[in-house]
């Protein structure tokens, strides 16, 4: 007798389905305590913003508008990471608020104090070179990771896979990154001493928002969040090993942040495009690749689990075997949408997207043991009929076409964007 092969998700990253947070949330003390912390952080940050707004109204408005705009694509990407089991927007907003209001409020005095301690226990030279690299990551990564723990306390059932931890961690990091960037931009305005001048805001936006934005707090938060996700879902492991992995992930986030803030490669290479490239490649790329691989592994394991739920249906109208393979991978999902557009137009692309969403939701409801699946089955069938009417009945991804083209296009666009940004920053005198 041969043993039933276990899914990768069951072996290394189990999924624990949980229901949507209901009114029961209001009976949890953590909900009110976390809410109070967010409100207190909001008041503190509003006071800081108010001081800047009084002195530099135009710059404040510009900084808030630019960085709010920057948050939109980041938010979209982070919330799309878990396509199959999407996180409730209210919890994503709470994670963002924790990062932007609580973690920042705590980090301002905490990092300054730790920087001072480096100078006192070491020397001003040590603090000048390594103060920002040691103090910032130590305080900020802890404060942000506490945000993911806050989400666990408020809605434990919503952190049901490692990928959920990644999403909440990234969202906490994004909130932190956006608010920190606004404060930095306004600090640059004050330091320039040219009154209410928006040039330092634009330079900060290009430097911190674009060039440093990709490998910044969102990334570090995602790594630490993965550890919390593991801590919560791997109930089959010993408490010690789960805690060990969570600490290791936090250490990874801290080390990535330290590397980014460190003075390594800062001097000696000048301020030209080559120096920038070296910094991006050696300080930003390794953590970025590590975290992308981690996200992919977590996503694939979660996808295995939900695909297994849909497989049980054995109903080709709800999902075909080829669609099941497509649904498991973000790249193949995107290729299927692209394929639908090229074959049957934009309406087909939209219908494929809706079909994939409905199939994913059906899988989640199946995993939760929902007895009445009529609503979700109906939505899948509706999109199937739309696709059939458009002459593209199956949301499949042809082998070997879409991913390569999209990857090449993404690499080219990124290189072009960096070149344009570098030219813009140099023209503004920020280089």
């Amino acid at each position: 007798m041969t043993a039933e092969p276990r899914l990768r998700s069951a072996r290394t990253a189990p999924v624990q389905p949980g229901a949507d947070p209901g009114p029961g949330l209001l009976r949890l003390p953590a909900f009110w305590i976390v809410l109070a912390l967010v409100v207190a952080g909001g008041v503190r940050m509003a006071l800081i913003a108010g001081r800047f707004a009084g002195r530099y109204p135009l710059s404040t408005l510009t900084a808030v508008a630019l960085f709010a705009l920057l948050a939109v694509p980041f938010w979209f990407i982070v919330s799309e990471l878990d396509f199959l089991e999407r996180e409730p927007p209210a919890l994503l907003a709470l994670a963002f608020a924790w990062g932007g209001l609580v973690a920042t409020t705590v980090s301002i005095p905490g990092s300054a104090a730790l920087d001072d301690l480096v100078a006192k226990l070491g020397s001003p030279h040590l603090a000048a070179d390594w103060g920002a690299a040691l103090a910032g990551p130590t305080v900020e990564e802890i404060a942000k990771t506490l945000g993911v723990l806050a989400i666990v306390l408020v809605a434990r059932a919503q952190v049901n896979s490692v990928l959920d931890g990644v999403v909440y961690g990234a969202m906490v990091g994004l909130g932190f990154q956006i608010i920190e960037d606004i404060v930095y931009a306004l600090g640059a305005v004050a330091l320039a001493g040219h009154g209410d001048d928006i040039e330092p805001v634009v330079t900060t936006f290009l430097l911190r928002g674009f060039l440093s934005g990709v490998w910044s707090h969102t990334l570090f938060g995602a790594l630490a969040g993965a550890g919390i996700g593991y801590l919560v879902v791997r109930a089959d492991r010993t408490w010690r090993s789960r805690l060990g992995v969570a600490m290791l992930a936090l250490l990874g986030a801290w080390a990535s942040h330290l590397l980014w803030n460190s003075p390594l490669f800062r001097d000696g290479l000048g301020n030209g495009a080559l120096a920038l490239l070296v910094v991006l490649v050696f300080k930003g790329l390794p953590p970025l690749l590590l975290i992308l691989l981690l996200v992919r592994a977590a996503h694939d394991r979660e996808a295995d689990y939900y695909a297994a739920q849909l497989e049980q249906l054995e109903d080709r109208e709800l999902i075909t075997p080829d669609e099941l393979e497509v649904l498991k991978s973000g790249s193949r999902r995107a290729t299927a949408r692209w394929h639908a557009r090229t074959r049957a137009g934009l309406r087909a692309r939209t219908a494929v997207r809706r079909l994939q969403r409905a199939q994913a939701r059906l899988a989640v409801e199946l995993s939760r043991g929902t007895t009445d699946l009529g609503r979700w089955r109906h939505e899948v069938r509706r999109q199937r009929r739309v696709l059939a009417a458009l002459g593209h009945p199956e949301a499949i991804a042809p082998e070997g076409k879409g991913p390569w083209r999209r990857t090449a296009s993404a690499v080219f666009s990124t290189a072009l964007a960096i070149a344009v940004l570098w030219a813009a920053i140099s023209a503004l005198g920020g280089g």
Partner: protein, 189 residues
């Protein structure tokens, strides 16, 4: 009123631990920082490297505040304390002339509520030949003096502040120290 469940109690303890950890970062670290002294004696018989290739001979009896002193290759700050008087030197990259540098410093001083620049600016020069502009300012309960120099794409800003009486006592020694400002990119870091 319902009973407190075990789950609610655990949840409360978890949330309080969260608050405790945050307090450790926001209050504990600053408290630990405040418990340790920030100033150290600094020799006044040899140049002190402020950063960015700038050196100064500190006034006799001055102590360096390590929390506000950050010397780096291209820029730096050094804060000396003579009793209650603050003597701050800041070096940073700057593209512009002396007048623009003085304008920027004045704007930053007057940008603080209650701070006003007084009198007219005078030209000053250091022993090493750096030419600069010097002026004064007032603030509630304290007075101050500023000076600014420009050298090789860098601005060297000096601000001195303290109560009028203390300032009057310390200014001669600080003026003597300011006149020792030297820019030497090949010099000690």
């Amino acid at each position: 009123m319902g009973r407190v469940t075990r789950r609610q109690l655990t949840n409360l303890l978890g949330a309080l631990s969260l608050v405790l950890a945050l307090a450790g970062l926001a209050v504990g670290l600053p408290a630990l920082d405040a418990a340790l002294p920030a100033d150290r004696p600094v020799p006044s018989d040899r140049p002190y490297a402020v950063g960015g290739g700038v050196t100064v001979v500190p006034p006799p009896g001055a102590r360096i505040d390590v929390t506000e002193t950050r010397p780096t290759e291209n820029s730096g700050t050094a804060l000396f304390r003579l009793g209650p008087v603050r003597y701050l030197i800041t070096v940073r990259r700057f593209e512009g002339d002396l007048s623009a540098a003085a304008d920027g410093l004045r704007q930053r001083i007057t940008g603080t509520p209650g701070y006003q620049v007084t009198g007219t600016e005078l030209t000053v020069a250091t022993g090493s030949g750096l030419a600069g502009l010097q002026g004064g300012y007032t603030a509630p309960g304290r007075g101050g003096r500023y000076a600014v120099f420009v050298a090789d794409g860098r601005t060297i800003e000096v601000t001195v502040s303290g109560a009028d009486l203390d300032l009057g006592r310390s200014l001669p020694a600080i003026d003597a120290s300011t006149s020792t400002l030297r820019y030497d990119p090949a010099g000690p870091r």
